[in-house]
Structure formats: structure tokens, C-alpha cells
């Protein structure tokens, strides 16, 4: 029995070691690779990488080559000095194959994108993941769930975050979509939502100047008066759980009141009070000072405001806000809310501002829809006076009294929340697609089904705490930070032909006392802490130059390098041996031609 097994093993080893197998594997590999390049030129590099170069069967083919190399070396043991070249070459091939595997399994490659003057410690890799992030009470936890590119659907994966197990199911994948935020069916605790259509009986533009086009639809969410409401100069339309009658012409101070919302907590600050000097808000060290105030603000270039007495009322303030040790300027309009990014700052969402102003609060038209059992009630109010109060059934138009338009509720949802309306794009820009997938997250506290749009975070409630899911590329954080001082592009004199790309950086490493200055050029990478950074590309973000570096950390590289050096050495030895043998053979031929010819004829006859 054991003998039989041993015989089998010996036979298997011999066939693995055979030269015939080597030729077959070499030939097959060559043909597969040739087909792969054609596949690549037809379907693109990612497809070729996924379906061929990174596929398991391709690994098996390489493994077969490796086994063949190992076996052929083993059966020739013990190696005579004559076999030195053979041994070195075959060991070198093994080292290269092994090194490649360690590069693939242990290596990290990706891109680091840094703006001039900015800093970055995130390496963005190629593979797709769904990043799940959430709070477990205090600590922030994160998981990256690998996703095939493109994902197969339906497909289930599991991950755990903050000691809770989740199941993520990909229900549908679309390679390029148009995603529009709207209201979708929500869970029982969500408020009601409606789709309201504004119609004009006489065909004129119902909204007045500055508003959206005619015949428009708008989603309203109960008690959401900012995002899911319609607000514009002199007209507002929203849904609310109850209607408050207008107060007597107002008690608000002349310049209005700023409402500062920090972590869901509202704080009122009088504008006049905050103009005098910084006012502390809450007890978290947040302060606020009003720098500018306008009754009739007009926006100039670069986000600057100007007072224009000929324009309609448009109260606005520019404030300086200090929160979390960071100072930023924000512009707040009574009519439009907090305009983010007007000063170039990417103001966080931690603090929200709104301006309540007597001239705006109850001036103009205000239409409020309030849900009632079995329908809705519409309250129409103009200049702090209630014009009408009538019940509304979905599908039945109601004519407004203060304006020549009518409203109709065209859809209603008992429980609604913001979500995406996703439509597949067939003729989008292939270079810049927007993929999306519909997923269902099942956690210990329920499940939620929603769309994940590429790189747009979405909130999911399935566990004890809400999770933020993002469909994006895999990311790794560096243990240090790179700051880009300058990105330089050199051109050859008198032309626009690029001559050199150069990033001037600083390496900020908390573990080191000194900052290191580094210059990355083409063919001059930066090596730091096991990582290498290469100038890969650049882009222009307005006037800002953005340097794109490729980053890699590759434990397989030294193995491959040693293997390569040995491969060159081994092939040179073999070549010299062979060429010498040829030469010797040639010398022999000269003397023994006749004998050889005869012997060959015999061999030839055998074969024939």
C-alpha cells in the first residue's frame, strides 16, 4: 500500500519534473498572455487585471510553473558543479515567483493626492471596498469590506464593527448612474413626506423672479424647513406637524437673531449683541462675532457682500466662528440659510447657523401643509395674516388666494426619509462613470435597504448606533503625513513640452523630532519608513496645483531583486557553458565527421 503510494508519488514527481511539462507550461503561458493583451485592448486594463492577471486560475498556472521548476531541480539532486548555472537560474525563477506573490499579498500600492499647501496621510488603493464607520459610544470604529470590481450581485458578505455583526447584501449594481436626492419610503419612526406640484392656471410663471421654473415639483418632509422645503424671496412652502399662527408684528430685535445649532442644540444670539465683540456659545469654547451686517445684501465677486438700497430685503451677516480651536468665516442669509464654502473654507457640519429676521420671518407668502388623519390641511398666510385654511386630499388641486397658482399633492408617503432616486445612465462619460449599488444592511437592530453612490457617504440604521457606509476605493493611513510645499512643472525652453515634474514636500512624523524635507522627481522617488513615493501625475484644481504621487510598500521587492540578479548570473553561466560546449563540439566535428555522420544515419533510421 505505502509502496504503491510511493510509486505514485515518484511518478507524479517525475512528470512534474519533466522537460515536456516545462515546454507545455511555457507555451501555454505565452499563449494565455498573448490572449490577455488582446483582451485588454478590447475590454480595458481593469478587466484584464481582474479576469486574467489577478484570477486564481492564472495563479495556478504560475504555481504549476513553480512546481515544475522545483521538481526539476529536486530530481537532479545532488547537483554537480556542472549544474551550477541550472541551479542558480531555477532558484532565481522560484525567488522571483515567490517575491511576486509576497508583493501581491503583503504589498500596498496606491495614490496620495496632495494640494499645494495641503497635507495628506491617506493612500488610496485600487481595490473597491465598502467602508463602514460608526461610533461605539465613544470610540470611532471602521471596517473596509472588500468588493469585487465590478461587484457580483446578488452577493452577501459579513463584517463586524464595534463588536456587532452585520450582513451586507449587494442587491444590484449599476456601472454608471444619475443619482438624485429625493424622499423615499422610510421606517415607522420617520415623518411623513409629500411631493407637491405647483401649477399655474393662467400659464404665467407662478414663482416670481428668482424662483424655479414653472410647473415644478418639490418634496416636502414634515418639520424639515430647510432641505425638504421650498424657500425663496417672499415665498415659502413647507410641511409641519402643526401650524403656529403668526405672532403680532414681531418681537425680534431690529437686526434679528442668529440661531447657532451645535450638536442639535439651539442657541440664540442677538446680532447686535454679537457685533460688539465675541460671544461665547454653549460651554464648549465656541465663540461667535458678527463682522458685517446687511439689510439688502448683494453678493459680489469672491463672496463679498455689498449693501444695495435698490434691491429687495435680504438680511445677511458675516460672522467669525471659533469652534474646536479653528477659526472660520461664514456668511448667513436670513432667506437662504448658512452658505458654506463662500470663503473657501470647508466649514464642517458641526455648527449650523441660521438668521431669524423680523423683515423676513413673516413677510411674504407662507404655505404650510399639516398632516391630519385622512388627509392634509393647508394654511396659507400672507404678511402675517392667515388667508385660508382648507383640507387637501392628494390629487386634488387647491387654488391659493394670495397668488395665481394652485397646489396639488401628487404623492404622499406616511414615512419618508431622504434617499436617492437612481437611474441608469447608458451614454455617460466612460472616463468618469458614477457607479452605484443597492445594498441591504442587516444588523442586530434591524435592516435597511438603500443605494450607495460612489464616494457619497450614506447613513444606515441597523445596529445600536448609526453607521456611515461609503462605496469607495480602499484606503490606508500612513503612520506619518506628507505636506506639499510646492509642485513644479518645468518646460523645455521656448516650448510647452514638459521637461520635469517635481514635488517639494515635508515629511511630518510625530515619532521624529525633526521634519524631513524631500524632493520627488520623475525617477527620483522618496523612500521613507518602508514606503516609497513616486511622482505619478498632477492636476489643476482651479489655480491650485495638485500633485498625485504613487505610493508603495513592498516587502517582496528585495526577494525579486535578488532573484533577478541570480537569474542574470545563472543564464550567463548557462550560456557560457552551452557556447563552450558548442565550440568543443565543433572542434570534435572537424576530426570525427565521418564517424558522426554514420551514427546519425542510424539514429535517423530509428526515428523514421
Amino acid at each position: 500500500m505505502t509502496l504503491a503510494i510511493r510509486q505514485h508519488l515518484t511518478r507524479l514527481g517525475r512528470s512534474l519534473a519533466s522537460l515536456r511539462l516545462a515546454v507545455v507550461v511555457l507555451g501555454t503561458l505565452a499563449m494565455v498572455l498573448a490572449a490577455a493583451t488582446i483582451y485588454e485592448s478590447k475590454y480595458g486594463s481593469p478587466a484584464a487585471q481582474r479576469d486574467i492577471y489577478q484570477a486564481a486560475w492564472f495563479d495556478l498556472l504560475l504555481l504549476l510553473l513553480g512546481l515544475n521548476v522545483v521538481a526539476s531541480a529536486v530530481v537532479r539532486w545532488p547537483w554537480s558543479p556542472k549544474l551550477a548555472g541550472f541551479a542558480i537560474t531555477h532558484l532565481a525563477i522560484l525567488m522571483i515567483l515567490g517575491g511576486c506573490l509576497s508583493t501581491r499579498w503583503l504589498g500596498v500600492t496606491g495614490r496620495v493626492t496632495i494640494q499645494e499647501g495641503g497635507q495628506e496621510n491617506t493612500v488610496i488603493q485600487d481595490p473597491w471596498v465598502i467602508r463602514a464607520a460608526g461610533h461605539d459610544g465613544a470610540a470611532l470604529a471602521e471596517a473596509q469590506v472588500p468588493i469585487q470590481e465590478p461587484p457580483r450581485s446578488p452577493m452577501k458578505t459579513h463584517f463586524s464593527l464595534a463588536n456587532q455583526a452585520y450582513q451586507l447584501e449587494i442587491l444590484r449594481y449599476l456601472p454608471d448612474v444619475e443619482a438624485k436626492m429625493q424622499l423615499v419610503e422610510g421606517s415607522p419612526e420617520d415623518p411623513a413626506g409629500i411631493l407637491v406640484e405647483i401649477q399655474q392656471p393662467d400659464g404665467s410663471d407662478p414663482h416670481g423672479p428668482g424662483m424655479h421654473g414653472p410647473g415644478m415639483q418639490h418634496w416636502l418632509l414634515v418639520d424639515d424647513t430647510t432641505r425638504w422645503a421650498l424657500r425663496s424671496a417672499g415665498f415659502s412652502l413647507f410641511a409641519a406637524s402643526h401650524y403656529t399662527a403668526p405672532a403680532a408684528p414681531t418681537t425680534l430685535p431690529a437686526k434679528g437673531t442668529l440661531v447657532v445649532t451645535i450638536d442639535g442644540q439651539d442657541h440664540d444670539v442677538g446680532v447686535e449683541q454679537a457685533t460688539a465683540g465675541p460671544v461665547a456659545i454653549g460651554d464648549g469654547g465656541t465663540t461667535l462675532q458678527v463682522k458685517e451686517y446687511y439689510d439688502r445684501a448683494v453678493v459680489m465677486q469672491k463672496g463679498k457682500l455689498r449693501e444695495d438700497p435698490d434691491k429687495p430685503m435680504n438680511p445677511a451677516v458675516v460672522v467669525e466662528l471659533t469652534h474646536d480651536g479653528k477659526k472660520e468665516r461664514r456668511t448667513v442669509f436670513a432667506r437662504f440659510g448658512d452658505i458654506r464654502g463662500m470663503h473657501g473654507a470647508s466649514g464642517g457640519d458641526a455648527v449650523r447657523l441660521s438668521l431669524r429676521h423680523s423683515m423676513v420671518a413673516d413677510a411674504g407668502m407662507k404655505v404650510v401643509l399639516v398632516p391630519q388623519p385622512g388627509g392634509w390641511v393647508l394654511y396659507e398666510q400672507k404678511d402675517a395674516r392667515l388667508l385660508q385654511q382648507i383640507p387637501v386630499q392628494p390629487g386634488t388641486p387647491v387654488t391659493l388666494q394670495g397668488m395665481p397658482v394652485s397646489l396639488v399633492i401628487s404623492r404622499q408617503m406616511p414615512h419618508a426619509r431622504p434617499g436617492y432616486l437612481v437611474t441608469e445612465k447608458k451614454d455617460g462619460d466612460p472616463a468618469n462613470p458614477q457607479p452605484a449599488m443597492e445594498v441591504q444592511l442587516t444588523g442586530p437592530a434591524g435592516q435597511q435597504r438603500d443605494w450607495l453612490i460612489w464616494s457619497q457617504p450614506a447613513m444606515f440604521a441597523a445596529g445600536k448606533h448609526a453607521l456611515q457606509l461609503t462605496f469607495q476605493r480602499k484606503q490606508v493611513s500612513l503612520p506619518f503625513t506628507l505636506r506639499l510645499d510646492r509642485f513644479e512643472m518645468e518646460q523645455y525652453p521656448g516650448t510647452n513640452m514638459p521637461a520635469m515634474y517635481r514635488s517639494r514636500l515635508k515629511v511630518l512624523d510625530e515619532r521624529q523630532s525633526e521634519q524631513r524635507t524631500a524632493v520627488i522627481e520623475m525617477n527620483k522617488p522618496l523612500e521613507y519608513d518602508g514606503w516609497s513615493f513616486f511622482q505619478s501625475s498632477y492636476s489643476l484644481n482651479g489655480r491650485q496645483r495638485v500633485s498625485i504621487l504613487s505610493a508603495s510598500k513592498d516587502p517582496g521587492q528585495p526577494i525579486v531583486y535578488w532573484g533577478s540578479a541570480m537569474l542574470i548570473l545563472g543564464t550567463v553561466i548557462i550560456a557560457i557553458q552551452r557556447l563552450k560546449a558548442q565550440y568543443r563540439g565543433a572542434a570534435k566535428t572537424a576530426t570525427t565527421t565521418a564517424a558522426r555522420v554514420t551514427s546519425k544515419k542510424t539514429v535517423g533510421a530509428d526515428h523514421a
Partner: protein
């Protein structure tokens, strides 16, 4: 029988190389030469000008501009410098001359130009509305391939028109350095320059003297003006880093055309060697050696010259790498011929080198020495990688050449086993040398890729195809050890595997057009490559058929070297 074939083969080779040589050397004879056609250009040629990102002699500028506008190295038998000066100073007279290359029958038909012409006048093309519309369209926009080819052709014509318009306006001859080392040089007429008032007057006067001498065909005025201009500019150009000896070296390179000289000498060596094969005489053999060595010297001289004035190893473009492939074929051939017993070694090497160098000289690839793109700078790996790869291709090309001889020999003279063995050894040696160089070249490329892209292997099509080539040759060598491939098989395989080299070298850039080796991308030549592959296929089938007709006995050789 075989004598007849040898003579026939010799005649075919001689006739075809002769025809190609004649075509590439011949200049069109002019109908009537203008008066300035006889002026002495020596001083004018060496005027340093800024163009294409570097400082070059006027001679090189003129060659580039004439090549780019007309698609020919000279027009009406006129020296390019003469043409450029005439375009600059006699623009009006040239607007109606058919000098701008269109050369795309589809485009010509679409925009209503005569279908049989190749070149058209500036005036006619600029007035052509459909052409202008096509030029303005975005090439990248989607649409049928034919449409985008039309647009691409139209844009090429647009670039030629633009260049010619710059020549007409005198903006191409930029002689005066700028203050900033990276700045654009000025023409003599532009006001903002680094010149002092006195120098300006001198430079202007000299330039005008040269122009008037040219236009009035006054030899003394023209040459004198050019010399005065050189002298007047020398003081301002020297601080800008202009080295007059490199400039004159480049002029000499342009005049000498060492790479063309190289193949002419190799071609002569081949002819002489063929004669010597049929009529063995010692002096003939020495002469063959001498000619091929002279060709090698010419190639080396050309490489050194080009390296000096371009400031980087001439290994960056398709043209330069083809020259190195020819160089490698001669080098390996010369070394091998001293060792190999096969008498025809030298002839085969000369033939292969001639074919490669003629290809470099006549193929429509850019032979301009232009500055390096960023990824090729800062690194010696460019030299190591391209040089080893090219040496590998040279060895494989030689193996392919030897393979033809061997296949024919085994098919037509199966009894001459001695010769067959000698040839077989040479073939095997070439394959081994090629594999060593290719393996080293791929590894050097991987090291370089790791240094500049951050990964040593990424299955880029060029990488993949070079690996396929190596695997192909390795399969042959291992197959030979097993006994699956014998002498005839090895000969045929050396030809088949060379098609892999062609695919890697040409196909990836010109057919697949993908990957990161994008600096070599281009199009065209598919027809010629297709014809080559077809001819090789026909040759192999023919040899196979002939061989199968002959009785089998005595054909097989023991592969005595097989055992490890």
C-alpha cells in the same frame, strides 16, 4: 539545383537593396533652379537657433521644418536650409507652391482636393472651408473610426500649415537668447531682447545683409552676412550655454548621415560577401571584413555624435532604437564571425544589419533628436534597459536570418550535414545570446519601472509581450532539449519567434496602442508588417513542402547537446 537558387537569391537581394538604396538616396531633379540655389550655405547652416526645446544649428531646424511640412527630406532638389530661408524671405512666392503634404486620399476626397495629388499649396488649403471645419473638430469626440481618422489627418495638415505660416512670418528663426534660461528666444526683429543697442544694430545689419545677399543671389553678401551674424551673436549666445563646437558637430552629423553611411557599407559588405561565397578568394574575404567593420565604425561615430549634441543617449525614440538594433546586429555579427566556422556568418550579419538600418532610414518614423520626456530623464536605466533589449532583438534578428539559411539548406541540401551542423550551432548560439540579453533587459526594465512607477511588474502590454517573447524562445530551447524540436524545427521556430519580437517591438505600440510605454505610440506601417509576416509564412510553408518531398533518411540529427 542549389547553385541556381543561390544565384537567384543573390540577385533578388541585390536588386531589392539596390532599388531601396536608390529610392532613398535619389533626390528629385529640379525643373529650374532659382538664382539663390547656388549660394554657399556653410556659414548659415551653423547659426544656432532655438527650436523644439533646445538650441540647434539652423541646418537641423531647416531639416525638421522641411520634413514636417513636406514629408520629404528635400524638395525640388533644394537643400532644406535654402528652402527655409526662401520661405522666410520670399513667403509670397511660396504660398501658391504645392509644398504642404496632405497625402491622405480619404481626406482629399472629403474636402474636394484632387485625389491624385499628395502636396498642395498653402493658399489652396487655407481657403478650403471643409478642411478648416474638420480641423476645428475635436478628435477625441466619439464617432465612427473613419471620421476620427479624417479629423486626425486634418489636424496634422493644420499643424503643417501652422508651421509653414510661422516660417513665412520669420518667427521660426529665433536667434537671440532670452534673459531667463528657460525662456523663449527672440527673432532678430523682435524688440524685447537681451541685446544692447549697439549689438542690436550689428545683429540686425548682419541679418539684413544676409537676407539681401540671399534675395539678390549675391554670394559674398550672403556668406559675409551669415559670418557677421555668427560673430555678433556669439557674445550673447555663449552665456546662454551655446557650445559652438557641439553646433558644428551637429551640422557635420547632418551632412555625414553616419547611420545611412553605416548601412551603405554593410550593404556593400553583404554584396561582396555573397560574391565571395560563390567564388572564394582571400582578398575578397578581407574586403568584406573591412567593409563591415567600416560600417560599424560609422555607426559608432554617429551614435557618439548624436549622444554629444542631443545631451542624452540616443535610445529614446523608435528611430534611435532601430539604429541600435542595427548596431547590435553588426557588433554581434562581427564577434560571432571570428568564432563561428560557418563562412556565411558575416554575410548574414551584414544582410540583417542592412535590412534593419534601411528600415530605420526609410520608415516614416521621426528621426529628430528631441529633448527627453520627464519619465526618461534622471536615469541611467534608460540606457541599460533599451540597450540590452535592443541587443537581444539584434541577436534574435540574426537568429532569424540564420534560420532562413538553415531552413533552405535543410530543405534543398539535406545531405550536407556538416554545413547544417555548423549553421545549427550558430543558430543555437544566437538564440542563447538573445535570451540572455532579453532576460537581462526585462529585469533592467523592471528595476527601472520600480524606480519610476513604483512597481516592478504590472502586466503592462509591453512588459507582457516581452515576457511572451522570452517564454516563446525558452519554449524552443527547452523543446530542443526534449527532442521535440530538431534542426529544421529550430530554424523554423527562430523565424516564428521573431514574429513575437516584431509584435513586442512594433505591434504593442502601433497595433495595440495601450499601456505605459506610450512615448513610442504611433500608427501606420500595418501593411508593410502584414506583408512581412505573409512573406515569412509563405517562406516557411515553401521550405516545409520542399523538405517533406525529399526522402526522410539522413535528415535527423541526434540532439547530442540535449542532456543537461
Amino acid at each position: 539545383m542549389h547553385k541556381y537558387f543561390r544565384t537567384l537569391g543573390l540577385l533578388v537581394v541585390l536588386a531589392s537593396t539596390g532599388a531601396m538604396a536608390a529610392e532613398s538616396l535619389a533626390a528629385e531633379t529640379p525643373a529650374s533652379q532659382p538664382a539663390w540655389a547656388a549660394l554657399d550655405l556653410d556659414a548659415a547652416r551653423a547659426l544656432p537657433v532655438q527650436y523644439g526645446g533646445r538650441v540647434m544649428p539652423l541646418d537641423t531646424l531647416a531639416r525638421q521644418v522641411v520634413w514636417q511640412v513636406t514629408g520629404r527630406q528635400s524638395l525640388q532638389g533644394l537643400d532644406p536650409v535654402r528652402l527655409l530661408l526662401a520661405w522666410t524671405w520670399q513667403g509670397q512666392a511660396w504660398r501658391d507652391q504645392p509644398i504642404v503634404l496632405v497625402g491622405a486620399p480619404d481626406l482629399q476626397e472629403k474636402i474636394g482636393l484632387a485625389a491624385d495629388g499628395k502636396r498642395f499649396s498653402h493658399a489652396e488649403l487655407v481657403a478650403n472651408q471643409p478642411l478648416m471645419q474638420l480641423m476645428a473638430m475635436n478628435t477625441a469626440a466619439d464617432g465612427p473610426a473613419q471620421e476620427s481618422a479624417l479629423r486626425r489627418n486634418a489636424q496634422q495638415v493644420g499643424a503643417r500649415l501652422d508651421l509653414l505660416a510661422q516660417a513665412f512670418s520669420g518667427r521660426l528663426i529665433r536667434l537671440v537668447p532670452s534673459k531667463d534660461a528657460h525662456g523663449t528666444w527672440a527673432t532678430v526683429d523682435q524688440p524685447l531682447t537681451t541685446l544692447t543697442e549697439a549689438d542690436r544694430t550689428r545683429v540686425k545689419a548682419a541679418f539684413e545683409k544676409m537676407r539681401d545677399g540671399f534675395l539678390t543671389a549675391n554670394p559674398a553678401g550672403f556668406a559675409g552676412g551669415a559670418q557677421e551674424l555668427t560673430g555678433a551673436l556669439a557674445q550673447v549666445q555663449a552665456p546662454a550655454g551655446v557650445n559652438p563646437s557641439l553646433i558644428s558637430l551637429e551640422v557635420r552629423y547632418n551632412q555625414l548621415r553616419p547611420f545611412r553611411l553605416g548601412w551603405v557599407l554593410a550593404c556593400l559588405a553583404m554584396a561582396l560577401g555573397l560574391i565571395e561565397l560563390g567564388w572564394p578568394k582571400r582578398p575578397l574575404r578581407y574586403a568584406t571584413w573591412a567593409l563591415l567593420t567600416a560600417g560599424f565604425v560609422a555607426l559608432n561615430a554617429g551614435i557618439v555624435m548624436r549622444w554629444s549634441f542631443a545631451g542624452h543617449a540616443p535610445l529614446a525614440t523608435m528611430y534611435e532604437s532601430l539604429v541600435f538594433m542595427g548596431w547590435g546586429a553588426v557588433a554581434i555579427g562581427l564577434v560571432t564571425a571570428t568564432v563561428a566556422q560557418l563562412r556565411s556568418t558575416l554575410v548574414i550579419a551584414a544582410a540583417v544589419a542592412t535590412a534593419i538600418l534601411i528600415l530605420a532610414d526609410t520608415a516614416p518614423v521621426d528621426s529628430v533628436a528631441s529633448p527627453l520626456i520627464p519619465v526618461l530623464r534622471n536615469t541611467m536605466w534608460l540606457t541599460y534597459h533599451v540597450l540590452t533589449i535592443m541587443l537581444a532583438y539584434s541577436a534574435f534578428a540574426l537568429a532569424m536570418g540564420v534560420g532562413h539559411v538553415q531552413a533552405a539548406r535543410l530543405a534543398y541540401r539535406p545531405t550536407d550535414t556538416d554545413r547544417a551542423q555548423q549553421t545549427g550551432r550558430l543558430l543555437y548560439g544566437m538564440l542563447i545570446v538573445g535570451c540572455v540579453f532579453l532576460a537581462a533587459g526585462i529585469i533592467f526594465g523592471a528595476v527601472w519601472a520600480n524606480k519610476s512607477w513604483g512597481r516592478y511588474w504590472g502586466w503592462d502590454p509591453k512588459e507582457t509581450w516581452s515576457l511572451i517573447t522570452l517564454l516563446g524562445y525558452m519554449a524552443i530551447l527547452h523543446g530542443r532539449l526534449v527532442g521535440w524540436i530538431r534542426s529544421f524545427g529550430l530554424a523554423i521556430s527562430s523565424i516564428v519567434c521573431f514574429q513575437l519580437v516584431v509584435m513586442t517591438y512594433y505591434g504593442v505600440n502601433f497595433v495595440l496602442g495601450q499601456g505605459r510605454h506610450s512615448y513610442g505610440f504611433s500608427s501606420g506601417g500595418q501593411l508593410w508588417i502584414g506583408l512581412y509576416v505573409a512573406a515569412e509564412t509563405a517562406f516557411m510553408l515553401w521550405m516545409w513542402a520542399v523538405r517533406n518531398r525529399t526522402p526522410k533518411a539522413g535528415l535527423h540529427e541526434a540532439s547530442s547537446e540535449a542532456a543537461l
